[in-house]
Point group: C2
Chain length 606, copies 2
């Protein structure tokens, strides 16, 4: 089979990579350092005071005495200070400010460093709780603006329900409460006084909201009722918190709607899912697969769940991106949300059809994992708070104050031009060296850097440097007469290229598997596997069990969070392989004797 061949090649490449991590890593370090050298040399040369600087560390040693705001290690102090993650605390010396863990060598350590040094998050004294700093929160604001506009266009209205629920409320829907009970945080006292009744903090708001829906909805004229809230929810119980991906409190939106007909509900489920895909694909340059969850993986208490699933190349794991649930009439029966049947004048009652759908700040973590590199964050222009940074260069010991002031004025002019066409731009005219600034803005992921010095001024152009292609390959020039359009075009190209590269990786690592023997090796080669499957829960459990890594001599580098994780079903993709399933295809699981129903995507996952 053609696919099997392609897969084999891919698998071999990846295995080679996986079995010799040190060689591969060393190669990349060497490449990164070379790039850094080039940059440092170029940046520092005109200044005259560091022309011999030939490596990244030299550039890094030149911060002014008080340093930059963004990337300091915590001070020793009496107050309960945010604790930085161990990976960073252990490895990073005071002088070292750059990311110093390789993405391909220690993914979790790299992720923590990129987030903290890029000023996306700070750790707190409470495990699993993080500060979303302005740079990451601005991305969340962009996502909310985009999505909020769209849901309002179909009549969704925002509202706010309390963060607290009573025990009685929580327990109305049995499956639902079972799905969340262990994670619920309970408030039991105020000040020093025990509460008469313990109060739950919402892990999600179905049971908080639906009693009110029962009150508000009386007639089919009240339908559809479409409400949404932008809020935070709390899910306390888990072992391995990770910023954005798995946190005890997280920001999200939760939409909760009620419809007269199943068709009305289902149309909305898919519309919302398409917008979730849009957040990933259009804003975050992250490819996702749209599909339906198996019954085992669906939302607790719902009828079915649709999902967008992403893929993290370094760990080879799938990640759930956002889910849009058709709840059917299950909750409306439990909460007695009924209307009179418009087609039946005898007063017959209909239970409404409900949906709920949620998208969280996890989006931001996925974006970081996919685009970030060993220099730091890489932000897609569409969501970057700062899309372009202008850095004056070529100021040396011989530069007069007047010349410097002239150059800065020209930089201000460039900034104005770009602002006028709606580009989010800033110039960095601080006293730090260009090399220092380059590192700083690279860590923060600014998509495009413009360098402007006496040479550029004379030649009427700016030097451009793409964040997504570090080093010489990402350099270019734009004439000042075409600055606005030229930069806009570059930003569009960066956005597209980020998506395309990620998409190619996802596609390359999605393997159609038709023999069980290939299943686990493919997972180990950091693939997700599309397999003929029966879609039953016992079989999924078995697949998970069979694919858990148990051999002690397996020297594949282990993702510390999931060293021996078995594969779960990620989704049943809406877009099935063209050839479909040949009649009589069995479920891939060798211990299952059912027939396959669909191609189902399995993978190790977050």
């Amino acid at each position: 089979m053609a696919d099997a061949a392609a897969e084999k090649t891919g698998a071999m490449d990846i295995n080679a990579d996986a079995k010799e991590p040190s060689k591969s890593a060393l190669k990349k370090i060497a490449k990164q350092q070379k790039l850094a050298e080039e940059k440092a040399a170029k940046a520092s040369k005109p200044k005259g005071d560091s022309s011999s600087a030939s490596n990244l560390k030299a550039a890094q040693k030149k911060p002014p005495a008080q340093g930059a705001a963004a990337s300091k290690e915590p001070k020793a102090q009496g107050a309960a200070a945010g604790k930085e993650p161990k990976a960073q605390g252990a490895a990073a010396g005071k002088e070292l400010k750059a990311v110093n863990v390789l993405k391909e060598a220690d993914f979790a350590g790299w992720y923590a460093q990129v987030l903290t040094k890029g000023c996306f998050i700070s750790y707190t004294d409470i495990s699993g709780c993080y500060v979303y700093r302005p740079a990451s929160y601005a991305i969340w604001e962009e996502i909310t603006r985009w999505f909020d506009t769209r849901i309002k266009s179909i009549g969704v209205k925002n509202c706010y329900f309390p963060m607290f629920a009573t025990k009685e409320q929580l327990e109305i829907e049995k499956d639902h409460v079972e799905g969340f009970a262990a994670e619920v945080a309970w408030v039991t006292k105020s000040g020093n006084t025990p509460l008469e009744k313990e109060i739950a903090i919402r892990p999600t708001s179905e049971t908080v909201m639906y009693p009110h829906y029962a009150n508000w909805i009386r007639s089919h004229r009240d339908l559809p009722l479409r409400l949404n809230q932008w809020n935070s929810v709390v899910r306390w119980e888990f072992k391995h918190p990770q910023p954005f991906l798995r946190t005890r409190e997280f920001l999200w939106q939760e939409g909760h709607t009620a419809h007269l007909t199943k068709a009305g509900a289902e149309e909305e489920v898919l519309q919302i899912l398409e917008w979730y895909a849009g957040v990933y694909e259009q804003l975050l340059a992250v490819p996702v697969v749209r599909g339906r969850k198996t019954d085992k993986e669906k939302f607790a208490g719902g009828e079915y769940t649709t999902t967008v699933e992403g893929y993290i190349p370094e760990t080879g794991r799938g990640i759930q991106g956002g889910t849009s649930h058709c709840l059917g009439q299950n909750f409306s029966k439990m909460f007695n949300i009924v209307v009179e049947d418009p087609a039946n004048k005898e007063g017959a009652k209909l239970n409404v059809w409900q949906n709920s759908w949620g998208l969280s700040t996890r989006t931001i973590g996925v974006m970081v994992m996919i685009h970030g590199d060993n220099l730091g964050l890489v932000l897609p222009p569409r969501v970057a708070e700062i899309q372009v940074v202008i850095v004056p260069v070529g100021i040396t010991a011989k530069t007069t104050e007047e010349e410097r002031s002239m150059l800065h004025k020209e930089v201000d002019g460039l900034e104005e031009i770009l602002k006028a066409v709606g580009i989010r731009v800033m110039s960095d005219k601080s006293e730090y060296s260009p090399g220092w600034k380059f590192n700083e803005w690279e860590q923060k992921g600014v998509p495009l850097r413009l360098e402007f010095g006496p040479g550029e001024s004379k030649g009427h152009y700016v030097t451009t440097s793409r964040r997504d292609i570090p080093g010489k390959d990402g350099k270019g020039q734009v004439a000042i007469t075409e600055l606005g359009t030229g930069v806009e075009k570059l930003l569009s190209t960066i956005q597209k290229d980020l998506y395309d590269r990620a998409d190619q990786k996802f596609k390359e690592h999605t393997k159609k598997i038709t023999a069980w023997a290939d299943f686990v090796p493919s997972l180990n080669a950091k693939n997700v596997n599309l397999i003929p499957h029966c879609l039953t829960e016992p079989c999924e459990d078995k697949v998970k069990d069979l694919s858990a890594r148990r051999e002690q001599d397996d020297n594949t580098p282990q993702d510390e969070k999931a060293p021996s994780m078995g594969a779960k079903s990620l989704c049943i993709p809406f877009e099935q392989p063209e050839e479909g399933l040949a009649e009589g295809t069995k479920c891939l699981n060798p211990e299952c004797d059912r027939m396959a129903v669909k191609w189902c995507l399995f993978g190790r996952s977050y």
Copy 2:
């Protein structure tokens, strides 16, 4: 004195009102009913089937079998349903949908009804927690948009800190924790498992945020640091919750900034306060007094607090509208937030100057209390989700289907014209009677109603009906050729008139008091009192004690929430009386022998 005379007149009027509530109330009921009759008669006449309708109840008895979505009583049902307030539950029958408690007779009962029937809030099973329904949340969204744009213009950035704090964090600043300790809600278990350490839910975020400020701020170049978050906070301990005004969880923004100099901090404190005043005055049409809190009333742990104070005429109580605090260097010393002194090269350290400032959903409650009337909510056009509702009228039994369809098409045309000029408009073409619709949209507070029937169509005009002036006095016409500008002008006028009326009441009920004997009678006459005061805390305590109502035969109608409340200082107004304080003026408190320092505004308050 001129003021004393004016005050006396005012006081007499008010006392007359207060001592004979029944007469006054009856008068107003009669007036309201007359207006309702007119409306009902007019609205129903063309329909032919209720031409004899002569009172509000008749109009109310005509809902279609299934009724409207908005204003139903809770159904009896198994689920934990939101409980409506007692005032409503007791008084309102199934058939009665209009607000049926008079604002001037039972203010708290009226407030609860107006909010629930106007679809602003729903009550929940947890005392002090309310659902903010779309109609009220839309106003909060408008406030956030307005304020968020402004703070971003001075470089404030949004972010999000966790809702949880450790005990150690909370306790770092002693005065601060004392101010909040009794109100703090504690999470002590997840699922069934006790937490190792109890975790607090933030009552405000100073102690959550400032440890991070200590990490992030190293150099004077990092200043000012200006962060803000839109979030909810929890303050559990209090006796009398009231929607929007005093709730256990509330939505707000909290800004927290750090500055190199006191001057920088102080400039911002006042800028923010001015924007808080802008939210009230420009958006909500609510007049406020800008001033400084006395030391007794300032923020726990801060240096001083500035405030905008409003006034609720029916209760004669002041209400704190929003506060902007200069924290001085107090927190920065506790949390060790220091930078090197840029003027001192010897490495001396400076503690930063900090501010914090917050505005909450209380804004919405104040707006409702001030503008609402006995027909329901009255929304200022600037923040109303729906500014204009168009109601087709004059459809009778003789109207042909074609005529009705033509009329509806014309209504669509009017809607388009208004949308094109940016007015938030909807038309109500449902099958309910015009009288029913009038009541519905009046309860919801829509600022302007346009009526359009065969007469209007023939005459090329619309009939306008102002929500703020119910009945004939608020009626007018606008030619269709001038619809856009005419309606815009009317909305502006409504906005201005709402403000002016409230401002006039506030001014009339702000009394300069120069003899202690007048102090309590003036309070009892629902005034707030501007008095010469020494500004010391013991004296304030004494004033409060002396002004608490203790006589059993005082038959002033009692605000159920504060029957015997003494007066607190509301603020030291920035704008002091022109004449200032004559030299040698004593503090007004007869038991105080200090000299007066400023005119200080005292009042019973929320």
